[in-house]
Each structure stands twice: as C-alpha cells, then as structure tokens.
Symmetry: C2
DNA sequence: GCTAATATAATAGTATTACTATCATTTTTT
DNA sequence: AAAAAATGATAGTAATACTATTATATTAGC
C-alpha cells in the first residue's frame, strides 16, 4: 500500500481499513508512519546484508567477491524470496522511492543515535571492507561504498522517470554501469 | 525558514507570520509548498548552470574544463554571490536536504512533462557533454553525470550526519573524492 | 475451564495542516 | 481620478496525525 500510494499519501487510517483493522491498533505497533518507514527500510537493508554475506562468504578472490557484492546491491529485485512475510520486490520499490525521506529530516542525528540506521551503515561498511580488500591503497572506500548504494537506487529511479539522465534501461543495467565504474576507479588507484 | 525548519515542518502560515504577510497571499504566488520547493530548486540548478557555463566557457582543454565543472558542481557554497535576492548558501543547504523530495513523488512524471525539472536535466546534460568531450568512448556519460550531481549532494549530507560512511570531512572534500573518481573512470575507459 | 493479562475495536476528540472562498482595503497603473 | 490589480482579514472545510477512553475479544497460564 505504501508502494501504491507513495509515502505521503499513505496513512494508518487507510491501512487499517484495508487490513480490516483499527487505526489505533496500528499505532500500538508503530509510533507513526515515519517509524514504519524506518522499520521497513531497516529490514530491507538487513535482508540485503544477509543476501550479500550469503552470496560472497565463500568467495576468496577479491575481484570476484567485489563483483558479486556489487551485483547483489545494485540488481533489480524481481522475485520474492518467500523467506519471510515481507515481499522484497515491493519493498525494493519502496526503498528506491522513499528511502532518502527516512534520513532527510531534522531528526536524523537523534534517530541515528537510537540505531535506526545501523543496518544501512553495517551494509555500507561491509562493502567498503571488500573495496579495501581489493585495493588497500584506494583512499575513499567508504565514500565509494556509499556512492554505490545511493547511486544504485538513483539509477533505478532515473531509468523509470528521467531516462535522458542515464544510459541504464533496456540492455544496460545499473549493475553494469556501477561495476564498470568501481573497477575502473580501483584499478587506477593501485599506486595510491 | 525552510532551511531552519526543514521542508515538512515549514508551511505558508508560519512563513506569512514571519514576513508579516497573509497565508492566502502566499498561495497566490505558489500553489503549495511542494511547488515552492520546485521553484527554489529549479532556480538553484539554473544558477548552478550559469556558474558552470561562466566558469568553463573559455576553457578549451577538456581535462581542465571537466575538472573545473566538477569543482563548480561539487564544492560547498560558502558565500552568497549577492547577484540576486536569493541567498545561495542557504539554498545550497536546502537542496542538499530536500532536493530528492521534489522528485520522489507519485507526480514526478506529470511534473516533469510540465518542465519542472528542466534546469536540472539541462545541467546534467551539459556535464555529460563535457564527459563525452573528454572521452568519447566512455559508455555511460549521462549516468556518470547524474552520479556526480547526486553523489555530491549525498557526500555533503553524509559528512554532516553519517561521517562513518564517507572519507569526506576535514581535509577531504566531495570535490576531491569525485574528481578522483571521474578521472579514474574515464582514463580506464579510453579504449571503449 | 476459569482467571488474569493482554490485545483489539469502537468511538470520540484535539491540534494542525493544507488549503479555498469571500469581501473589504490598499496599492499601483493608466 | 478611475480602473485594475494585489493584499489582508476572516472564516471555513476536509484531511491528517495523532491521543484517550472504555468496551470487547483473544490468549496464556494454571
């Protein structure tokens, strides 16, 4: 429903109606819809981290490991894993369209202290570790990791709404673009 | 005021009070606060385009031209140009914190048709042209341009709120990080 | 199977937001 | 000075984002 209506038009009254429940009941589970967004996106990044770790833990070769990591993070989610009660395809769409609203607020620092962004930061750290492993001389592993994470969501958005601003769409995927980007950056920076 | 309160807490009643004017008068100029954000950010990207063109138009050498372009787009705005009635330092902060909210809506496509994102797209195109000029073989000039634009805002945000996710802050600037990134990508891709 | 604890539903209510409408007054233009 | 345009004051509406209260239903432990 949040995916259908978008975050701003979605609310707990409508959700209550849809699931045959009461608005006030939902408020007992989530303080407000912003907290629900934090919960959902946190869950998403946690799931993503699990996928990432699972897909890369037995790869030792740094190039292959990083390639796989970039793929896991930048691919479009097209099927639900059925591992959980949450539909990851829909959640991926929500994250693309709404994630930045979860931290672009005056309350970020406070909510960050309370741990609401821990899973996102942990995923970014894991990715930056793989970048370091591939090239220990590269000076901006954390920034590059955050660029991959943010850039992937952004490219997915652009291909759907501002196609003139990206080559992605059709044949070319955000994965291809970002994989090329990352390895070219890291190969040039081998000597510091 | 939008910078102080953040977009969601800002509204026309408060603005009216502050400037000694009437809520309904403001509605005669802007349909709603979303449209005001579109207006402000559009103005910002137009101003940015002007700065970019002015700073690069007499540079012929592609490396120098692109270097300058990246600097213009990724630098932190610290002083008001006094060219206009708008404070660019504050507007830069608003763009960092609110810009993505202007397009992450269900109405993007409609508003895009009406031209609300034209200046942003024009700026991106100019940047991508410079990228092409530097390296005509590179396959993703538009995506790279949008990554620079989005990535710069993101890195500025991260250094202020999620410092563990970026090397930027203190000595290192988003300009330095992104300049290194762009040239390393483009230098590797000289042969297609 | 009963009791106590807990969760949910129904209803009502509040403060605020995001507007719209109306009409009087002021300012600007010609 | 008259006409046109902009602004102000006031009121009102529908919706949002909740909170509070109390009754009812469900579940858990013994």
């Amino acid at each position: 429903m949040m995916g259908e209506l978008g975050f701003e038009k979605f609310n707990f009254r409508k959700l209550g109606e849809k699931i045959g429940s009461n608005e006030s009941s939902i408020y007992r589970y989530f303080e407000n819809k912003h907290k629900l967004l934090l919960y959902l996106t946190s869950w998403y990044w946690g799931w993503m981290e699990y996928q990432l770790v699972f897909a890369t833990h037995n790869i030792l070769e740094p190039t292959e490991k990083l390639t796989k990591a970039i793929y896991m993070i930048t691919r479009e989610i097209t099927e639900d894993s059925n591992f959980s009660h949450i539909n990851e395809v829909l959640l991926n769409q929500i994250v693309i369209n709404e994630y930045s609203k979860s931290y672009l607020t005056k309350e970020v620092d406070e909510e960050d202290k309370e741990g609401y962004f821990a899973s996102y930061k942990r995923l970014a750290r894991r990715l930056s570790e793989m970048i370091k492993q591939f090239n220990p001389n590269y000076k901006y592993p954390s920034s590059l990791a955050s660029t991959i994470l943010g850039g992937a969501l952004h490219q997915h958005f652009l291909k759907d709404h501002f196609s003139s601003m990206t080559e992605c769409g059709g044949e070319v995927t955000p994965t291809e673009y970002l994989t090329n980007l990352v390895f070219n950056v890291l190969n040039q920076n081998f000597n510091g």
